[in-house]
Amino acid sequence: MKVQMIGCSHHNTDVTFREQLAFQPTQVTAALAQMRRLFPRTEAVLLSTCNRMELYTAAEDEADCPTTEQLIAFVAEFHGLVPQDIAVELLNLSGEEAVLHLFSTAASLNSMVVGEAQILSQIKQAYDLANAGNSTGPLTHSTFQAALRVAKRVQNETSLHEKRVSIPSIAVADYASQFFERLDDKVVLIIGAGEMAQETLTYLVDKNVGQTVIVNRSRDRADQLAKQTGSEAADWDQLENLLAAADLVVSATAATDPVVTSDLFHQVVEKRFQRPIFILDLAVPRDFEAAISEFINVYLYSIDDIQAVCDANLAARQLEWPKAENIIAEETALFMKILFQRVTGPWIGRLKQQANDIKEAELQRLQNKLGSLADDPAVTKELEISLDRLVNKLLHPPLESLREDISPDTGAGLLDALKKLFQLKD
């Protein structure tokens, strides 16, 4: 039985290298189909995200599993690369190490942003895709299902995932939720159409925000983003009225001077009748003059205010790291034990069958020797019981030792010894 992985991630390779080895979803399906043609008795799952490419393979019989070189050659050829060029950069793990790596990745310990939840769904998607292409089997099923379960356990038993670490996610989930009970009846004004504004808007759309209006100096950009996100775009000269109507403002322009001054906001405040407003100024330099936060019922947050939470959350996540590592180590050991039980199971069965065959032969021989005595069913029964007891007593100590010492490291040696001592054949 063999489980192995070759791959690369942001930990050991740069983005240019990862781009060369990345698989698009359609390519994943094609690659897995090709794998099945080349190695029909090998199970495979291919995980490809922007931060990692990992190909997991497994086979009940080690001889059916491709070698590391064959896997490297497969990946290289799929992307039209030379195997030697990528071999040095690729990570190669097998057995317990490969399982530990998968569990850690699923629990987001290997992610760029530790604790982010996206990797778990990406692993699930990769597993589903392999399932759909019939590339999975008993080993990958149990390994990936265990990985998903371990990730959930880490999620439930540590606060590694609780603390958000990206500015837009903290702004929306940790702050906006303190102001608003619901967002589906709120008016959100997005000032600027850059990357930060877009990312924040994505979080807001996820939260089912009511009305979103995008205002940008370049109307085209605003229109474009509005189209992408199902929002509305407005002219820049409408800014004052839009501020008066908004409940939540996200500002992230590239302007070098404040876009909203205290004087302008004074007029806005008069129109708002002191209705509370939550302003997220995510621009550097800031879009809103700092003095605006002095107005009654105006809650103005700059990127620095949120960055502090971001840093604190990252530090808190680091504290949870050892707890998560312990869970993963414990689950990996347990999983390997179960996996090894699966390996030893058929051999134990074979040994018992062999012993039973000998017992049956000996019983037959004895019955022939005993002649008329063997006609008495009580005698036959007694003989059978005695031989059963003899076989069981002889097999019990070695099998018990195998069951107790079932870790893959020492257990494999015992299993080999058992095979040799009792001359067990495949």
Binding site: Q178, F179, E181, F273, P276, N297, Y299, V309
Partner: protein, 293 residues
């Protein structure tokens, strides 16, 4: 049969300290949110509140039964304080069930425990006059004032939470682990609605008191209780009208401040009634608690 008797006997032995202790432990657990992460805390708090409410209800029911056999039930300030605290405990449990992660108990439970403590401190005071308690206007007067006090206590608690959260947000303090409050929007809505409800109920209570006094002339019109009650009513009407007509008052901290002021005003008036000289006179106690000569 024996089991039923044993159970009944056990229930009659429930004392005030049983439910007060449940609420107190629930409060301590709520406070511990600020310092420790315990996975089953919310379930334990909920169980404690349910046990407390059960014991509280049984205690009041037993007292109600005992009072009924000897006269009229709920005929003292002690009883009414316990009824108000029970209503607040139920309200808190419902809110806590809907908002498991929020620390609303830190604000609700001290008010509940304060009311129980207050009830204990006035336990020895004379109950209301027996002949007059069944009067319709007297009942309206007593019930509406009690319900008004409950609504005002809820308005006070949510107003206080609003001010704490608004202050934290204005000072840009990061969210604190274990101290999550409901959103400003929810607190403002609860605060406003409770204030309007309290104003309406107290208005009914005071008008029914005026009717009792007009019919039976139990107390002088320039009595401290009458004057302070009228000023309280006027204040609540002004606050409500101000909030309805002046748009900025509907938003943010103003309404929370006004609610807290209203609550203390109400407490002051109740203190006049309970501890003032007039409270000793049967006529005045009846005006507040359901009667008039």
């Amino acid at each position: 049969m024996l089991n039923v008797i044993a159970m009944t006997d056990w229930l009659t032995r429930i004392s005030l300290s049983c439910f007060a202790l449940s609420y107190l432990i629930a409060l301590l657990l709520e406070i511990s949110r600020l310092f420790y992460r315990i996975s089953v805390r919310s379930i334990v708090i909920f169980a404690l509140m349910l046990a407390g409410i059960f014991a509280h209800t049984i205690f009041l029911w037993d007292k109600f039964q005992a009072d009924f056999s000897g006269g009229t039930p709920l005929a003292s300030w002690y009883d009414w304080c316990l009824v108000i605290s029970l209503a607040l405990a139920v309200t808190y449990t419902i809110v806590a069930l809907q908002r498991v992660r929020h620390s609303v108990g830190i604000f609700f439970l001290p008010v509940i425990l304060g009311l129980i403590l207050f009830a204990v401190s006035i336990k020895g005071r004379q109950p209301f006059s027996a002949q007059e308690r069944g009067n319709l206007w007297g009942m309206t007067h007593g019930i509406s004032l009690t319900a008004g006090t409950i609504a005002m206590a809820i308005a006070f608690t949510t107003g206080l939470m609003y001010l704490v959260l608004a202050s934290r947000l204005k000072r840009k303090l990061p969210p604190r682990a274990g101290f999550h409050l409901p959103s400003l929007e929810w607190l403002q809505v609860c605060n406003q609605r409770s204030l309007f409800l309290a104003t309406g109920l107290i208005m009914i209570g005071l008008f029914s008191g005026i009717i009792i006094n007009k019919l039976k002339n139990v107390v002088a019109w320039d009595d401290m209780v009458v004057v302070s009650s009228s000023v309280l009513l006027l204040w609540l009407i002004v606050v409500s009208v101000f909030e309805m007509l002046y748009r900025p008052a509907r938003q943010g901290k103003k309404i929370a401040y006004l609610t807290i002021a209203s609550f203390f005003f109400l407490i002051m008036v109740l203190c006049f009634v309970i501890f003032g000289q007039h409270a000793e006179a049967p006529a005045v106690t009846m005006l507040w608690a359901g009667g008039g000569k």
